[in-house]
Subunit: 285 residues, 3 copies
């Protein structure tokens, strides 16, 4: 298969893909705010499938076309569709298993983060092999517990292993926003960098890694994953618990209150930490 044939297949609804050497630079573009719906899930499935069988691809770099939102979070109105889209990869209707597949892949994945990345977006970058963020603009949140549920796609698994029990509990139970410096101090990301340097840093790193022998990538990932990657069962259990919680009246009521307050809108989520606090204040009064 020629390179041009391969290129021509990499056309997506929500991803702009540019190739350089053995690196695919993948820009997430799902206006108006990079919510994760079935189009983005489906595109991620296709991208991973096509890249894995193409041995001229070694590294995937993920960034966002939207300076304010990397991936905002799951589209809560389309959870069922998302699961159907994810199931196309290996039959398991779970975003968490899709993400875990990426973590376990021979492909090296790097997240280059500007703007907000919360909920299932945070879980996506946690599934990537490395995470670098713009000090001035990146904002992190794993806010699902403010709706009474556990993160459904591996967030609790990764956060606990990366930052330990105390900080993982704080991050999730507080449902707060975290800036890049604090995220780096906690181990949520590898490093916070000045926004002006981020793109060059990640590009150089990706090209460097892509130039090294593929057999090294595979064996290192296999051995690191054997220690630190959550098991399929752990991911499945969290997913089940999330779905269980999402069926409760309490979750449904909070979601409706949040929608009225601006949830799933660009403006409404600029300060999501405040929004989830307010809907819960209302609830307990």
């Amino acid at each position: 298969m020629s390179a041009s044939t391969r290129e021509s297949k990499l056309v997506f609804q929500t991803l702009n893909v540019r190739r350089e050497a053995a690196v695919l630079f993948v820009e997430i573009s799902a206006p108006p705010m990079n919510l994760e719906g079935p189009e983005l899930v489906g595109d991620l499935v296709s991208l991973i499938q096509q890249s894995e069988v193409d041995d001229t691809v070694q590294v995937l770099v993920f960034k966002s076309a939207d300076p304010d939102y990397f991936i905002s979070h799951v589209d809560v109105t389309r959870i069922k569709e998302n699961r159907d889209a994810a199931a196309r990869l290996n039959g398991d209707p779970s975003i968490g298993q899709l993400y875990r597949h990426l973590s376990a892949s021979r492909l090296v994945s790097i997240a280059q983060i500007e703007g907000r990345v919360r909920g299932v977006g945070s879980e996506f970058i946690l599934a990537c092999d490395m995470r670098f963020a713009a000090r001035e603009s990146a904002i992190f949140g794993q806010f699902e517990p403010s709706f009474g549920v556990i993160p459904g796609a591996g967030g609790a698994q990764h956060l606990t292993r990366l930052m330990g029990r105390g900080r993982a509990l704080e991050v999730m139970l507080s449902a707060q926003d975290y800036d890049a410096d604090l995220a780096a101090a906690y181990g949520w990301i590898n490093r916070a960098l000045p926004a002006a340097e981020l793109n060059d840093f990640v590009r150089s790193l990706a090209l460097r890694i892509a130039g090294f022998p593929a057999m090294g990538h595979a064996v290192v990932k296999e051995r690191v994953n054997a220690i630190a990657l959550p098991t399929v069962e752990d991911i499945r259990r969290d997913s089940d618990l999330f779905l269980e919680g999402a069926r409760t009246d309490e979750f449904q009521e909070l979601t409706q209150a949040a929608m009225k307050g601006g949830f799933q809108t660009r403006n409404g989520e600029m300060d999501l930490a405040r929004l989830v606090g307010e809907i819960n204040e209302h609830r307990t009064e």
Copy 2:
């Protein structure tokens, strides 16, 4: 049971409890230096028992009435009494199991630390779900190995999981004092904050968490604990090893030498790291 009835039961020898919304603010007050003796252990047992059955309580915040000592450490003259007091919770005569019960509880626990917190005090904050400390005044020590014994209530378990093998070995084998910034860098605590901001920060965080759905607290704690909480067996083994060590002549001799040097006195423990160094210098001459 009415709120006022509940309030009236929360009267303790060594704890001052104030309630706000679904948060209990618990001030440890066991003059002259917040040594952990059977009164404090017994009060912690009662507090936990009463709070767990009261579903209007979601969060416990622990702070100290003494600006110099949060919990100094166990009263070494009353280890047997402490164990009897701890056994009231579930029959296991072990401070470590009492602490682990708190970690595993649906209640969210937050330590707000000013002053010295060493030995079994450090193990208490490690069992809490989150730890925030005053940059100017908090001092941390897990100094048991300077008496030839392992921390008896889970300290080695938590420190190793939070900060990794190298730093956990350093902290325990050196028996040094650590300030809040270094404790944060090592992962011993979540964050060091300016003393002037600490109380407001923790109060806001506690009230925020308490306002979120209880079902979220429970499921997040369950899944995080499944990864990062030491097992009952691990806690028991450390407790047994501590008791074994505490029965040796070497431990007894060091304890007596320490008592002569000011151990278990306010003044003598202001610089405990120096004190434990001196009694061992004497020993090896």
Copy 3:
């Protein structure tokens, strides 16, 4: 056995040993660049064997006689001889098992790092119980994946446990050099200190620990290792995978290209991160 008899046995080809109280200060001196060959491996075996049976020794401090190189890495031309030398300890022909033996020993080991420490050198300091480095001069690298292989002596095991999945993958897959501040932020080392303070800091710490009861060292190490020390099987598997990779044509070709570029020379390895990038650029053109 008298102290003088013991002293007289501590004569090595590549180590200068000085004793103070219960501490052995061990200076690595294998000119021209502290490559790890069979002489150094054999000396480490002898040092560990002799120290373990001498109950007047409690702590080993490792430093380097060469300000630019602590341990540069394995001498790739002598891997078979190194394995034979390591096998003298307990029959297992593996540097990783030699290192693991040190980690599991009752002896407390401290690495005092100035200059470059890469590859099997990084794995050595990771096997030590604690690691302190000079902020101005220490440089860390775990660059084996740039030759297509996994670190063969436990590096992947320790790095993953110390710094988590994302940073461990970055460190190994990037094959970059890391300075002491970044190494400390990532948890590779305990702390970075000003070079002018490093020696006094480590000497004081070593003497302090050596003055505490030996039974405390042993029980703390046993319990921490039960949580955080890689198993014998994990070390063996990495070693096997390294040897498998090192037999490939790709590894051999890269090694030969590196040799032409200055690999295993003092000058050539001052900027090894650049060198391994260049040989791979050449390869993929």
